[in-house]
C-alpha cells in the first residue's frame, strides 16, 4: 500500500510538472505562421531565392506590399535569399514574429530554370522534413516561383490553402494534368522502373516578358501551361506535365499528351477531347471519354525494349450539328475509326517524344520489363532508365462509342 501511494504521488507530481512547466513554448495558432506554398527560384547572390506564402487568418483584406514581402487578401509572401531550405526557414523565423510551420503546405513550386539544374537535393530535404506532408504537390512553374505565388490569388475560394487543394482536382475533370505529390515524385526519383514528372503550372495572362511566344494557334487540348489565351485575370493554370530525367527537367508535355500519358499509365479518369469531324473537314466533334485503359507489354528484342500498348477507349459523343446523324452504324464506325487514328497518332507522338527526345520513361514501362530478369543485379545492370531511349513501340487503339444518342437528335 505504501508503494502504491508513493507511485500515485509520483505520477501526480509528474502530471503537474508536464502540465505547467513548459506552457511558454506550447505552439498555438497565435504563435505559428502557416506556410501554404513554398516557391524556389535561382537566386541572384546565393543559390536560392525561397518565397513562402503564409496564410494570414486575421487579415483585414487590404492589400499592402513592402520590400521582401507582399500581401494579398488572405496571405503574405515573404522572400529570402539563402543556400538551402533550412537556412531559409531560419532566416524567415528571424524576422517573423511567429514560428514558421509547414504542416499545411500544399504546394512546392520550382521555377523552370531551377528544375533544369536539378531539384533532387531539395526533394530529399523535404522527405526528411516531418512537417511537410508527403501529399504536398510538386509544381514546375513556367514563370518564376515568386511571380507564380504573387499571382496565385483564389478566384472563388477565400482561403488560399483550400484553393491550392482544389486546384489539383482538375485532373478528375479534365485530365490535362496529374496531381503529383512529394511522395510520388520521391518514389519516382528513387525508382528503377521509371522517371519522375511533376505538374506543369503557370499564371494565365502573363506579361510577354515572363514567358515565351504566346501567339501560336493551337488546338484546345494541345495547350501547355504558358499557352492558354485567357488573359482576363491572373490565376493559376495547371496544364500538362513537366518531364524529368533523374532530378533534372528535360521537357514538358501538353494537355493532350497528358491525356495519352494517363491512358497509357492506367491512371485516366475522364476527359473531353475534340477530333476533326469525319463528316466535315472544317468542323470538330467533341467526345467525352469516360473509360480508358492500356494493356502494356514489354519484350526485349536485341537487348532493346519493344513496348506494345493495346489501348481501349470508351466514349460518348457530345457534339451535334445540323446536318449530322450519328445514329447509323456506318457513322458510328466512321467516328470510331477517326478516334482510333487520332489517338494512335498522338500516342505514338507521345511515346517517341518521351523516348527519343526526353529519354524519360514517365509511364513506368520498366515495371513490365522487370519480370524478364531473374535477379536484382541483372535488372540494375540492364539500366532500364537509359535503355528506354532505344525503345521502339507498337500501339493499337480500340475505341468504342458506347452511345451516340444525344438529347436532341439531328437528321441528315
Amino acid at each position: 500500500m505504501k508503494a502504491r501511494k508513493f507511485l500515485i504521488l509520483l505520477l501526480g507530481i509528474l502530471i503537474i510538472l508536464f502540465s505547467f512547466s513548459n506552457s511558454s513554448s506550447i505552439n498555438s495558432i497565435d504563435e505559428l505562421a502557416y506556410v501554404v506554398a513554398i516557391g524556389f527560384d535561382v537566386g541572384q547572390n546565393n543559390d536560392l531565392t525561397i518565397s513562402f506564402q503564409i496564410n494570414s487568418p486575421y487579415s483585414s483584406g487590404s492589400e499592402e506590399s513592402s520590400e521582401g514581402s507582399s500581401s494579398g487578401s488572405s496571405s503574405t509572401i515573404n522572400t529570402v535569399e539563402c543556400n538551402n531550405l533550412d537556412i531559409g526557414i531560419s532566416l524567415l523565423n528571424s524576422y517573423l514574429s511567429k514560428k514558421v510551420n509547414m504542416t499545411h503546405c500544399k504546394y512546392l513550386i520550382f521555377s523552370e530554370e531551377l528544375a533544369g539544374q536539378g531539384i533532387g537535393e531539395y526533394i530529399y530535404s523535404f522527405k526528411n522534413n516531418i512537417e511537410i506532408r508527403p501529399t504536398c504537390n510538386i509544381l514546375i512553374s513556367k514563370c518564376s516561383a515568386k511571380y507564380f505565388l504573387e499571382n496565385s490569388k483564389p478566384v472563388i475560394d477565400e482561403v488560399s490553402v483550400k484553393y491550392f487543394g482544389l486546384e489539383t482536382s482538375s485532373k478528375k475533370n479534365t485530365s490535362y494534368t496529374e496531381p503529383i505529390t512529394l511522395k510520388d515524385f520521391f518514389c519516382d526519383l528513387s525508382d528503377t522502373f521509371g522517371s519522375p514528372y511533376a505538374i506543369l503550372g503557370s499564371i494565365s495572362g502573363l506579361e510577354s516578358n515572363n514567358v515565351g511566344d504566346n501567339s501560336m494557334t493551337l488546338n484546345d487540348n494541345e495547350y501547355t501551361a504558358k499557352e492558354s489565351d485567357d488573359n482576363s485575370q491572373k490565376n493559376i493554370e495547371n496544364l500538362g506535365l513537366a518531364v524529368f530525367k533523374s532530378d533534372k527537367l528535360v521537357g514538358e508535355i501538353s494537355g493532350l499528351e497528358t491525356i495519352c500519358h494517363l491512358i497509357l499509365s492506367n491512371n485516366f479518369d475522364n476527359a473531353t477531347v475534340d477530333i476533326p469531324s469525319p463528316f466535315d473537314d472544317s468542323n470538330y466533334i467533341s467526345l467525352y471519354i469516360y473509360k480508358a485503359n492500356s494493356k502494356n507489354t514489354v519484350e526485349l528484342v536485341n537487348d532493346n525494349p519493344y513496348i506494345k500498348c493495346d489501348v481501349n477507349l470508351k466514349m460518348r459523343l457530345l457534339t451535334s450539328s445540323e446536318h449530322s446523324n450519328y445514329m447509323t452504324d456506318e457513322n458510328k464506325a466512321l467516328i470510331e475509326d477517326y478516334v482510333n487514328s487520332y489517338f494512335l497518332a498522338h500516342i505514338n507522338d507521345y511515346l517517341y517524344k518521351t523516348s527519343k527526345e526526353f529519354n524519360s520513361d514517365i509511364c513506368k514501362f520498366g515495371k513490365y520489363a522487370v519480370s524478364k530478369f531473374l535477379t536484382w543485379n541483372e535488372w540494375k545492370n540492364y539500366d532500364w532508365l537509359n535503355k528506354y531511349q532505344n525503345a521502339f513501340f507498337s500501339a493499337n487503339v480500340n475505341s468504342h462509342l458506347s452511345s451516340s444518342y444525344l438529347l436532341t437528335e439531328t437528321k441528315s
Binding site: L7, L14, D191, W376
Partner: protein, 318 residues
C-alpha cells in the same frame, strides 16, 4: 513435462547452475532488446512530435508506466494486453488494406531478389524476426489448460507469420526506395501515405498512438517475465526490487548507443545474432537434451519395471 518452462528444463538438464545461466542469459537478452527498441521508438517520437524533448525523458516515461503496470500485477497486464493486441492486429490489417490501391505488384520482381545465395542462405538468418517465440519457452506455467500449449504455439507462430508477411508485403510493394536504400521509418512512412478519402488524411497520428500502447504493453510483458524468471531462479519472494532494477537496467541500456549508426548496429547485428543464438540454438539445445534425458529416464524406468516384474514373477513361480 506439463507446466514446465525453459528454466525448469534447464534445471532438469544441468541442475541449478544451468538454470541460473539460462535465467541470466534470457534476462540480459530481453533487457538489451527492449532497451534498444524503446530507444529507437523514443527517437522516432522525439523526431515527430517532441523535437525539443530529451530522448531519455521519453524513455523514462515509458518505463515508469511499465513498472507501475508490473506493480499492479501480471493479471492486469494480461487483461490490458487482450485489448491492445486486438487493436494492433486490426492496425496492421488496416495499413495493408489502405495501401492496396497504391501498391505495384511488379515490385516483387526480379523474382530471385538479390540472388540465390542472398535469398536462401543469407536471408535464412532473417528467421530472427520470429524472436517473439522466446515467450513460448516461458509461457507454459501461465497457461490455465496445459494441453492447449501446442494449440497456443501453432496459432502464435501462424499469426506472427501472417502479420510479418502483411507488413513486409505492404512495405515492399509500396516504396521503391526500400530496395534501393535504407529506410528506418518505413512503417511510419507507409502510414503517412495512407488516406481515407479527403476527410481522414493524417492517419499517422492515430497509428503512433496505437504504437505507444504497443510499446507500453511490450515493456510491461518484458519486465514481467524477467521478474518471474529471476524470482523463480533465485527464490525471491518480493518482486518489487526486481521490477525496479529491471526498469533501471533497460533505461541504462537505452543510454548506451550514442548515435543512430550505433542503434542500427545494435538492431541489425547484435540483436539479430543474439536472437538467433539464444532462441534458436541455445534454447533449442536445452530442450533437445532435456527431451533425450527424459526419454532415457523413461526407458530406464521401463526396463527397471520390467526387471522388477520378471523378478516378482520368478519369485512367485519359485
Amino acid at each position: 513435462m506439463l507446466g514446465k518452462d525453459i528454466l525448469d528444463v534447464s534445471e532438469y538438464v544441468g541442475n541449478k547452475p544451468l538454470q541460473i545461466i539460462t535465467s541470466i542469459v534470457y534476462s540480459l537478452y530481453l533487457i538489451f532488446v527492449s532497451g534498444i527498441l524503446i530507444l529507437n521508438f523514443s527517437e522516432l517520437l522525439r523526431l515527430i512530435y517532441f523535437p525539443n524533448a530529451a530522448t531519455p525523458l521519453i524513455i523514462l516515461i515509458f518505463l515508469l508506466v511499465a513498472m507501475i503496470a508490473n506493480k499492479l500485477g501480471f493479471k492486469n497486464i494480461v487483461k490490458s494486453n487482450t485489448l491492445v493486441i486486438f487493436v494492433i492486429l486490426v492496425t496492421v490489417v488496416v495499413i495493408f488494406i489502405a495501401s492496396l490501391d497504391k501498391v505495384e505488384y511488379q515490385r516483387i520482381f526480379p523474382i530471385m531478389g538479390f540472388g540465390v545465395k542472398e535469398t536462401f542462405i543469407t536471408g535464412s538468418l532473417n528467421v530472427f524476426s520470429f524472436g517473439g517465440l522466446l515467450f513460448l519457452y516461458l509461457i507454459r506455467p501461465n497457461l490455465k489448460e496445459q494441453k492447449d500449449f501446442k494449440k497456443v504455439g501453432i496459432i502464435s507462430i501462424i499469426l506472427s507469420a501472417i502479420y510479418l508477411l502483411l507488413s513486409v508485403t505492404s512495405l515492399l510493394l509500396l516504396f521503391p526506395f526500400l530496395t534501393t536504400g535504407t529506410e528506418t521509418l518505413s512503417v511510419y512512412m507507409s502510414t503517412r501515405t495512407i488516406e481515407f478519402g479527403k476527410f481522414f488524411e493524417r492517419a499517422d497520428a492515430l497509428f503512433i498512438l496505437v504504437w505507444i500502447f504497443t510499446f507500453l504493453s511490450y515493456l510491461s510483458v518484458i519486465i514481467s517475465y524477467i521478474t518471474k524468471m529471476n524470482k523463480k531462479t533465485f527464490g525471491v519472494k518480493n518482486s518489487s526490487p526486481i521490477i525496479y532494477i529491471v526498469g533501471i537496467l533497460i533505461f541504462l541500456v537505452s543510454l548506451i548507443p550514442k548515435d543512430s549508426s550505433q542503434i542500427l548496429f545494435a538492431e541489425n547485428v547484435i540483436y539479430k545474432y543474439s536472437a538467433l543464438i539464444i532462441i534458436f540454438v541455445y534454447s533449442f539445445l536445452i530442450l533437445l537434451i532435456g527431451y533425450f534425458k527424459k526419454t532415457r529416464f523413461n526407458l530406464k524406468n521401463k526396463i527397471r519395471a520390467k526387471r522388477f516384474l520378471i523378478n516378482v514373477n520368478n519369485q512367485n513361480t519359485n
